[in-house]
Amino acid sequence: MDFVSLVLISHSEEIVVGLKKLINQVQPNVAIAIAGGVDGEIGTNVFHIKEAIESVHSEKGTVVFFDLGSALLNAEMAIEMVEGNENIRIADAPLLEGAYFAAVEAGFGHSLREVVASGEAAKSFQKVPDL
């Protein structure tokens, strides 16, 4: 079975290294690439993101998750630079929960559209139940 791939972008390398571990523990089959920090410092870099996308991208599609601020500008620019970028999407979602939900969805072999939707659903997922 082919899976949609994920790319995790953060200003901090530790954040995405940790997040990838967390996700792989429950879903080891989905390809996840990370782009975190710049040369060990806080930041994002368009070329690092481009490489991360290219390392996991396939015909099945890739969903990109990011943390803050300029990560979005750099992600958009990186995607423009990747060849065959028609099936790459940026999820409008919180990085941690969004990527987690999306990985679970992708693990069922579901489509790009479904994986994006499940990642974005994390925005409204209620973590603390009503009393």
Partner: protein
């Protein structure tokens, strides 16, 4: 004015000088309403631009500005890396194959750069970003045939200072909301340095 490869190189060296001299200042401004990396980011990027200009040979403005754009894109980082990178790349595309540019050609090139900035960052005038300096400056250059360096620098300065009184809607400072009021926007200040350096390049009279 005519922008040649030589004057463009001179301009960019001046920008580097100004950015290096104001590195701490830009960092302090960004510390107040952002993450405090703007000075370092810009200093790293323009240092590299300057080095490149000293070693490479350019036959036309397009290849020069393309190199500047790519260098800024890879070295600056943050939001300003893709923004300034995009701006110089659009400027390069607008001046394709040209070894010199008249003021109107150059103004059109800067308009293309501004369009690129807005496309990339989706900010509008009044969002407290570099756009607040770029847009009026480009407008002014396009609408006036005879512009002096002083007029250009004064306008850029006035628009840069006006970012102090408004609330940030884009970039890191937007997370602060109303608390961003009372602080200058660091990107507007670095853009002011870009245009004041342009005015310095043409300080011998009209631009």
């Amino acid at each position: 004015m005519t922008l040649t490869v030589e004057t463009a190189i001179k301009w960019l060296h001046f920008v580097n000088e100004e950015i290096q001299a104001n590195k701490e200042y830009l960092t302090d401004l960004d510390q107040a309403i952002g993450d405090g990396d703007h000075g370092l980011n810009m200093a790293r990027g323009f240092q590299e631009v300057s080095l490149k200009l000293n070693t490479a040979n350019y036959n036309d403005l397009a290849s020069l500005f393309k190199d500047v754009g790519m260098t800024l894109l890879s070295k600056v980082g943050g939001a300003s890396g893709p923004l300034y990178g995009t701006a110089f790349m659009r400027l390069s595309m607008a001046l394709k194959d040209k070894s010199k540019a008249t003021q109107s050609e150059f103004s059109e090139g800067l308009q293309a750069a501004l369009n690129g900035l807005k496309m990339r960052g989706k900010a509008q005038l009044g969002d407290k970003t570099m756009i607040d300096v770029w847009e009026p400056v480009v407008e002014f250059l396009k609408n006036h045939e005879q512009v002096t360096g002083k007029q250009l620098a004064d306008l850029a300065k006035e628009k840069m200072e006006a970012t102090k009184d408004i609330e940030a809607k884009k970039g890191r400072a937007a997370y602060l909301g109303k608390r961003s009021i009372g602080h200058l926007d660091p990107g507007a200040v670095s853009s002011y340095l870009l245009f004041s350096s342009l005015s310095r390049t043409f300080s011998e009279g009209e631009i």
